[in-house]
Amino acid sequence: MSEIVFAKPDPYDFLETDALLSEEETLLRDTVRDYVEKEINPHVADWWDEGVIPHAELAKAFGDLGMLGMHLEGYGCAGTSATAYGLACMELEAGDSGIRSFVSVQGSLVMFPIWKFGSEEQKQTWLPRMASGEIIGCFGLTEADSGSDPASMRTSAKRDGSDWLINGSKMWITNGSIADVAIVWARTDDGIRGFIVPSDTKGFAAPEIKKKASLRASVTSELILDDVRVPDEFLLPAVSSMRGPLSCLNEARFGIAFGAVGAARSCYESALAYAGEREQFNQPIGSFQLTQRKLVEMMVSVQRGTLVALHLGRRKDNGELTPEQVSFGKFDNVRNALEVARTARSILGANGITLEYPVFRHMANLETVFTYEGTNEIHTLVMGQAITGLNAFT
């Protein structure tokens, strides 16, 4: 029997979850962490404040690193493990959820469907330039009247000779106004189909949604499709049902399960540092029992979320991960991250409401993360159905 070791635990990695990573994963994780600390963190509060991101520069830098579509094989993609992709999301989101969203959309929602359901020619045409960041994509599924129930979408595509005519609109589309190309999901006579729509196609417009109080370091847009004509070669051939968009969402949600932990970790680290420095009643606020309770809850939550994410990562790399398990990760890690962010906010007092610290920004961002990619309620119903066998959606 091995004995318990008496060594001082690391406040930043209490359970030493780092030991679960391979050397290669550690190096990759540290590379993204280093990148985020040097290139994102010094600027992101300003981007968030102004609601503007240097998207072309970011796309190029992410492309150079190999971050875009990193877990896909071939076509200029890095071909890492799914766990490595998750770790990159975790580090990016420790910077900002909007920056992680940029990468999630490009890799999981735009490159993935082309890679999975596209023709060889479509893959050759689009993937290498998307992997390098030369081209930015967006993913249009949600509509103003069709959110949690995307199958109720109204956007339609009809055959017109050898072309397709697409009509309708999409709402809340990340990267919409800066995209060179959109994956648009539309109803057709033979089910829900995906189309690759270049943004310079006549009849396509993507006005930006302003006045957001969340995910401000990210572009969110409406897509308007008014008699948009695309040739048959722009149709994704290999899928004609909701399985298409849902399999993309599963990829992205997997990354979010990791990403949310990154945002939570950043909040916890800020609060821990602040609690050690800030003095009231002649002592650091970290010496009060009420504050210690908050710090410990946060630390435990971040560690637990890390373990859940890594477990999902290993299962995905073994080809064993189910969509319901992805729901578990998205549901639990995001709600816990939000709780951590709110608790950290309280520890920072008045400073907690400013953009001088990352906490409020994360807290506001996580409200979006809580809602997109399947709301907390929808993932509850997915798991509820899985354990009861009963459908509570309708």
Binding site: E23, E24, L27, T31, D34, L65, G66, M70, A78
Partner: protein
């Protein structure tokens, strides 16, 4: 052009260093990182080699551990690494280190050897010059800029006042300062390729070098605590007092 870059794995500077009792040798954990200042040398080497389709070989002395620091330099793009690890080298001094590195380098066909100016854990700052002497190659030190063309290397050598322009023929040894070039981030492809790149392990007997200590560490003490500063209250004449103080210390 073929470049050899000397790099060192060191304990993570973010964690406090521990010294072995009795010997005062630095305890080196399994997990070491690439000395941050070496990333500049690696980047310089990569840029020079890539211009001319040459190779970059890393040479490193010290416990290999899990080789994470070396993999980081390989992930940046270096082609291969030679690691010299030998229990007999524990506690070696600057001259032994230089002899070991020079012996390893001398079996390579190189145009340029690049080093940092000093390691972050040892700070002796003399190894590059010693390597050059042992290799019989010119030493160009403290480079803030490096250019190579047609058998000639030209550097800007940092001085207190600015820089000197120094030129020599190649092969040569160049020590580069932090900031000579902006080191790249390893790419994900690079990180995955790094594990396939060869790391050759050598011992003292492979190189025919012995550890003859020429230097002895007599004593190690903690750096003195910084003394509290002096506060000058401004009653209208503080500036004259400050100027006098600065003049006294020959700052102005």
């Amino acid at each position: 052009m073929n470049v050899v870059v000397c790099v060192k794995q060191i304990p993570d500077p973010a964690t406090p260093y521990k010294l072995e009792e009795g010997t005062s040798w630095l305890i080196r954990p399994e997990d070491q990182v690439l000395d941050d200042t070496d990333r500049y040398g690696v980047e310089m080497g990569l840029q020079l080699a890539q211009e001319s389709e040459g190779t970059v070989t890393l040479v490193s002395m010290g416990p290999t551990g899990n080789a994470q620091g070396i993999r980081q330099a390989l992930a940046m793009g270096a082609d291969r690494a030679i690691m010299i690890e030998d229990d007999g080298l524990r506690g070696s001094d600057a001259l032994t280190t230089a002899r070991v590195l020079a012996a390893a380098i001398s079996s390579e066909a190189f145009d340029l050897v690049i080093t940092g100016t000093e390691s972050t854990d040892g700070y002796s700052g003399v190894v590059p010059q010693m390597i050059a002497e042992l290799l019989g190659a010119p030493a160009l030190t403290y480079a803030t800029k490096v250019e190579v063309g047609d058998g000639v290397v030209t550097i800007h050598r940092q001085t207190a006042a600015g820089y000197d322009v120094v030129t020599s023929s190649t092969p040569a040894v160049v020590s580069v300062t932090a900031g000579v070039v902006e080191p790249r981030y390893p790419t994900f492809k690079g990180i995955m390729d790094a594990k396939k790149k060869p790391i050759e392990n050598k011992t003292m007997s492979d190189l025919g070098v012995e550890n003859r200590l020429a230097q002895e560490v007599a004593k190690i003490t903690n750096a003195p605590e910084r003394e509290a500063g002096r506060r000058i209250e401004d009653e209208g004449d503080a500036h004259t007092e400050i100027v006098a103080l600065l003049e006294d210390r020959k700052v102005i």
